[in-house]
Subunit: 464 residues, 2 copies
Amino acid sequence: MKERDVIAAEARGKAERDLEELCSFLAFPTVSALPEHKEDLLRAADWLKRWLASAGADECAFLKAGEIPLVYAEWKGPDEAPSLLVYGHYDVQPVDPLEEWKTPPFEGVVRGDNLYARGASDMKGQVYAFVKAAQTLCLRGRVPLTVKLILDGEEESLSPHLREALEAEKERLRCQWVLNCDSGALGPRQPAVTCALRGIAYYEIELTGGKTDLHSGSFGGAVVNPANLLCRLVAGMHDEEGRVVLPGFYDRVRPLSPETQEELSRIPMEESAFRRIAGSAPLGGEAGYTTLERLGVRPSLDVNGLKAGYTKAGVKTVLPNRAMAKLSFRLVPDQDPSEIEGQLREYLERRVPEGISWTLRELMRGPWALADKESLPARTAFNALREAFGVSPLFRRQGFSVPAVGHIKELYGVDAIMMGFMLPDDGIHGPNERQHLPTLYKGTEAYLRFLTGLADAWKHGESA
Amino acid sequence: MKERDVIAAEARGKAERDLEELCSFLAFPTVSALPEHKEDLLRAADWLKRWLASAGADECAFLKAGEIPLVYAEWKGPDEAPSLLVYGHYDVQPVDPLEEWKTPPFEGVVRGDNLYARGASDMKGQVYAFVKAAQTLCLRGRVPLTVKLILDGEEESLSPHLREALEAEKERLRCQWVLNCDSGALGPRQPAVTCALRGIAYYEIELTGGKTDLHSGSFGGAVVNPANLLCRLVAGMHDEEGRVVLPGFYDRVRPLSPETQEELSRIPMEESAFRRIAGSAPLGGEAGYTTLERLGVRPSLDVNGLKAGYTKAGVKTVLPNRAMAKLSFRLVPDQDPSEIEGQLREYLERRVPEGISWTLRELMRGPWALADKESLPARTAFNALREAFGVSPLFRRQGFSVPAVGHIKELYGVDAIMMGFMLPDDGIHGPNERQHLPTLYKGTEAYLRFLTGLADAWKHGESA
């Protein structure tokens, strides 16, 4: 057995033995969207600092980033060694609907091969897997290159302070390469390197009619009902073919090239399997595209929340005076998230009748990303995954957004490689989120092989 | 001063002096839509029984009607005297949004000429006004005809057990005439007799896609989003002219006759005043009709509630797996509420795509009503109001629904006269509901004159 295989096995075993540490991490209800969890985020940040120090980090610090710190840990490599910046986040999505969870969301519970908890997959589990790899190298002597880990506490709220912190800490965070662990595999036997992400633009629209709710008998049919209108406005944003009809929405969308179409067709995706992952949701979307094309290269518009009037049990004969929708767009090259608000505003200006007031608030925004598959980190990631999983990974384009990737590209000029071990059916953001543990342990091994692979390439004089 | 004018003034004064009794009544949070208020309804029923006895009722009882009793009080008139059945309700609408109330909803607070509280206008105030009239006659000796008062505890939930109770108590409740107090005036100086009500059919539609919520990045644009779909379905129920497009919806609607059109045009209604009453809501509705026509003779369809996905502060990048709408129709002669569900079902069957499951639940249903303006009670009400207010009342058609009216007509064959003293700007069903007190006191006088007027007509041999 080669030494690197021995170390790889060691990392896997360590990840398995130290699982209690992950459970401690999961116990912090780090929901960044809800102000009442601020203290939990601060407590988690303290815990992380101590935990990262115990995993051999030479330096642990909080980087200023709004009220919730960015946790920083550095494992110093040999002098002159290049730096790898690693990104992860320690905040999680809200847990509602709470009643659909089988076990408490902030208690890591192993059932079968899975660990259930909010954040188990997205992405405290991935953070854990990476830290176990770094710790294993530490225990062997030294991490063979400088690793600079930043853990974001506001990713699920689209990291409103991350860019500012990255800008302020440019010197400290200087790096040759970037690894983003907020990513997933195609299945337990099919790892992947993500080379593209969609961007996002997320809005809240509120319509207001009169000053108060009205009796639906005394006024129904004679006043404009903001809830009826909201449905009409939202419905009118798509045409019958599932295309978004906002003015200019597709102007910057790159046409699907035959090459990309071929690359996407190589990814194994059976519709039946995808539907299972989607909890049996029916497939649908823009006419003329496959599911992977819809997710990888086409933009979309979805309602994330609707609220109006009376929604408890029974009846209330009320005409609501207000109606609210949360809407988000997923964006692709070369769409500019900053242009979407203008398109939405133009649409509303044209369509909202006089006497109804409306507000449009951008709640988050993040750019799309597209990385070079021929770069050193991309090739190293490819090899690390092949060795850890015994199968060649595929390059994929993912539908979601990771704002850190866009900011780092803009500020540091470095494209991120995305490698993580969430599985498509982990149910991230929903109830009963879980992490497949055998995949997570192989993930630790892959991270370790990635670190040693980059160090080897550096030693052999390759660095780009 | 004639004796009847002396008694009328006495009744008005009594209503004013005893206002604390109304405040005690208002203090019970009798929200029938919410199961947690069941005990409050039962306590209120007990209180009513004692209060009605103290107001001189010869018999007080609970009539069986589901879990919430129908409170019954009878003031016995002379032998052979005809009976007037009087309907009211003691339950109220829910109070949310609670934060918009300036004073606690279950505390009667007088500010200026108004008494503020949930139910002050709809309709504990009206019940109070009527009881004070009956009590005044009692204190004078005897009520000159038999008055049978029933107070419903589930009107705001569309009286699910009322019909059964009315059927079971047919002997006890036998009557020549029916007065429904759940009604209003056009203004403090313009009383009205209501001769028509719209019917109602109220539904909850729920769409379900997959088993759980999904991540909007990983799945957005590739699965059918029930919240997007709900908006499309609701929006599609109206055409561009504001007409309802459910199959057969207008088939039974009576065309607007020139006579009815003329009658409606006599009702004073300035758009600016109506908009003020509607809290500045913009006017709108079916093309080709005036506001009073839209409310009085045309059916309507409104969204009463919408709920899907994440609606709290901030962002959650979620595709909801469920979306819910509460919808209600206001119906006019000769529409049949029992046919609407079929029309809705047919619409959904045609439009909901495969893979999305849906449920349609009827939450309440009530027939429209139309009474003869030439009947004895209609003429007597007209005279009573003219004397109490010093101005001739108008006959009006109201947009709301009172199920009791339909049930009594069907079971007892008697049309109800509707006379009450809510004002259009009382804000019933919304926050800061209020009752205009000078109007309420005149209302007591009008009820008293109505009772003595009917008794006089009977004595003079007129009874229909």
